[in-house]
């Protein structure tokens, strides 16, 4: 059977599973729609969080980026996992204790202000829309290669599926679908990683093959021979300060992502929120410790199968021809010696590889069975669709819950609120579809913006809201607005208007760290210059800090 047939088979099978689960978990009430009735067990919530958060960028782009960046790719590995420690220790338990539906809800109540709520809604929308735009290119890439349809058709198919289970099932439908999507995506990632590890080193466990075989040493040598830096050489592409700033921005951004935070509202109690963060990171770590191994193997294999091969030899590689058609892989025999050569110098380099194809092409480059290639495609779709659906729900609940119910019409009935939620999901799907067809850029880069914006807007006000009783409404609003405006200004300036990165050369991806620091300083200073929050709010903070009050108090043992 051909790769295309296997792909259609796997994709159809997994989509049928998602639709079935979405239909089974359909909901009527707003608690089910927004927070899955707060009845999700910690392990399941961990898997759902992992799927929600491991996006097309993690699955498709990350290993490819690491493959090209070598050591410098660690910013993604540490940044995206390190944030979970912040989330688990500083945010999740308290937000679960707070126990409402969204992040703007917390901000609005803690800072006793609909303006703060509105600023938080705008920030949530900004972050989610930036992020969802990144996902859609992932869906487009997978479909354009494996189903041989054009990108627009692929995006529309994906959107219909997402719309179906999120409109119908809300958070509950999304949660259980994401548990299934996690299983699909992790199997899809580990099979080729393990197969290629076995092939190259004789050890099927990627993490061990990476550490204890001589593949890294060999790759270092190959890179030096071609004129590149050693693969393990730190700061070959970015300065040390930039690596530090980007890592922190990604860590703090992860902890501030509204669609990840909202997952901790869906578990039964504070204790479950703590464990659920641990499960989430364990599930994520399964992929995140395999990815650098896969990145190394893929780079080694790709150089070996393409570099210095004759044109005829490369033309016989089926995968190379198919990827060349998507324009993500390009060959150009510039010196007309009949061979394609990979060099660090753009003027002599004859092989151009888009990092986005590394994960998807690895099984083919390593000549694995067609069904493995197909399952990777299904996994990539699972990753993109699960994140897209989580984001769509955040977008819809920000509008339907925080704006419609909490600000415009506080006396709305249960069914009106769910109805507006569903309408907003539909609207958000259409918007996401538009971005999918007209993608604004490179997957992981676009996603990095969302992290910077999340870091600069939410993180400080939530942390201070819990850990500093003195932080008040005026401080929070001023902090969020300055943090957000500064970060947007720098990113847009550097990325779109040719501004030079003037802050010690820190790139657009890392500037969220400075935005966050500015936000912290402004929030604290403004809070101290204005009256303290009302007593009722201070008592609410006191109450947040204790996990009791929802479980019957027990005698001391």
């Amino acid at each position: 059977m051909s790769v295309e047939l296997w792909t259609i088979g796997f994709v159809a099978l997994t989509f049928a599973l998602y639709l079935y689960i979405g239909w089974r978990s359909r909901v009527r009430d707003s608690s089910g729609f927004y927070v899955a009735g707060q009845g999700v067990p910690p392990i399941a919530n961990g898997a759902a969080t992992a799927a929600d958060w491991m996006s097309a960028a993690s699955f498709i782009s990350m290993a490819g980026l690491i493959s090209f960046l070598g050591y410098d790719g660690s910013i993604y590995l540490m940044g995206w996992t390190g944030g979970y420690v912040l989330l688990a220790l500083l945010l999740a338990p308290y937000l679960r204790k707070f126990g409402k539906y969204t992040v703007p809800d917390f901000v609005g109540d803690r800072y006793y202000s609909n303006i703060a709520r509105l600023v938080a809604v705008v920030a949530a929308l900004f972050v989610s829309l930036t992020y969802v735009a990144g996902q859609m290119r992932g869906v487009g890439i997978v479909f354009s290669r494996f189903l041989q349809v054009d990108v627009a058709t692929g995006v529309i198919i994906g959107m219909v599926i997402v719309a179906f289970f999120s409109v119908l099932g809300g958070m509950k439908g999304i949660t259980w679908t994401q548990v299934a999507q996690y299983c699909v995506l992790i199997v899809a990632f580990l099979i080729p990683a393990s197969a290629i590890a076995l092939l190259l080193t004789g050890n099927p466990i990627p993490q061990l093959a990476f550490t204890f075989s001589d593949i890294v040493a060999n790759l270092n040598q190959v890179q030096l021979d071609l004129g590149f830096q050693e693969y393990t050489q730190p700061f070959a592409n970015k300065t040390q300060l930039d690596v530090l700033f980007i890592t922190i921005a990604l860590m703090v951004g992860t902890a501030g992502l509204p669609h990840v935070i909202v997952r901790f509202y869906t578990v039964p109690d504070v204790r479950a929120a703590r464990y659920s963060a641990g499960w989430a990171l364990l599930f994520i770590a399964l992929l995140y410790t395999s990815a650098p191994a896969l990145a190394t193997f893929a780079r080694y294999n790709l150089i070996n199968s393409l570099h210095n091969q004759t044109i005829e030899e490369v033309r016989q590689l089926d995968w190379a021809n198919k990827w060349e058609r998507t324009k993500l892989l390009a060959f150009d025999d510039k010196n007309n010696n009949g061979r394609f050569e990979l060099t660090p110098d753009q003027t002599t380099n004859e092989i151009t590889i888009d990092p986005d194809i590394i994960v998807l092409s690895t099984p083919e480059v390593a000549r694995l069975a067609p069904w493995v290639i197909a399952i990777v495609a299904a996994g990539g779709l699972a990753a993109a669709l699960s994140t897209a659906s989580g984001l769509l729900l955040v977008i819809s609940s920000s509008v339907a819950h925080d704006i419609y119910y909490r600000i415009i019409k506080p006396d709305a009935t249960e069914s009106q609120r769910v109805f507006v939620g569903r309408i907003m999901v539909g609207f958000a799907v259409a918007l996401a579809g538009y971005f999918g067809i007209n993608p604004p850029g490179f997957v992981a880069q676009v996603v990095a913006f969302a992290f910077g914006l999340a870091a600069a807007s939410f993180f400080p006000v939530i942390i201070l809201g819990i850990f500093d009783k003195r932080t008040n409404r005026e401080g929070a609003i001023a902090g969020m607005v300055t943090g957000l405006l500064f970060t947007i200004f720098y990113i847009v300036g550097v990325k779109f208007s040719g501004m030079t990165p003037w802050f010690f050369g820190v790139s657009a991806e890392g500037i969220g760290t400075l935005g966050m620091i500015i936000n912290f300083i402004v929030t604290i200073v403004v809070s101290r210059l204005t009256p303290p929050p009302p007593l009722a709010v201070q008592e609410m903070v006191e109450d947040l800090r204790s996990p009791s009050g929802e479980l019957p108090p027990e005698a001391v043992h």
Partner: protein, 84 residues
């Protein structure tokens, strides 16, 4: 819970968070970024240690830190009579 007890509980909680965050910053920001070059002089298995910390070691440490937090907080909850 009375006021003194809840303040003691909060202090114990924040002390635990502080200690775990020190380890968090040490493995990621210090060992894997600021001190990566000296650490790369040491080999772990067949790879340079600093590189290994950045790409594998720090992630494994993060997972352990969160579970330590959850288990220690269970202990704290029991001590302060929040849960059996």
């Amino acid at each position: 819970m009375d006021r003194d007890k809840s303040q003691a509980y909060w202090r114990a909680n924040t002390a635990l968070i502080r200690n775990l965050l020190i380890v968090w910053a040490l493995v990621s920001l210090i060992f894997s970024i600021l001190l990566v070059e000296p650490l790369n002089a040491i080999q772990l298995g067949r790879v340079p240690l600093g590189f290994w910390m950045a790409q594998q070691g720090s992630i494994l440490t993060f997972v352990v830190l969160i579970f330590i937090y959850a288990v220690q907080m269970d202990r704290l909850d029991r001590k302060y009579g929040i849960r059996k």
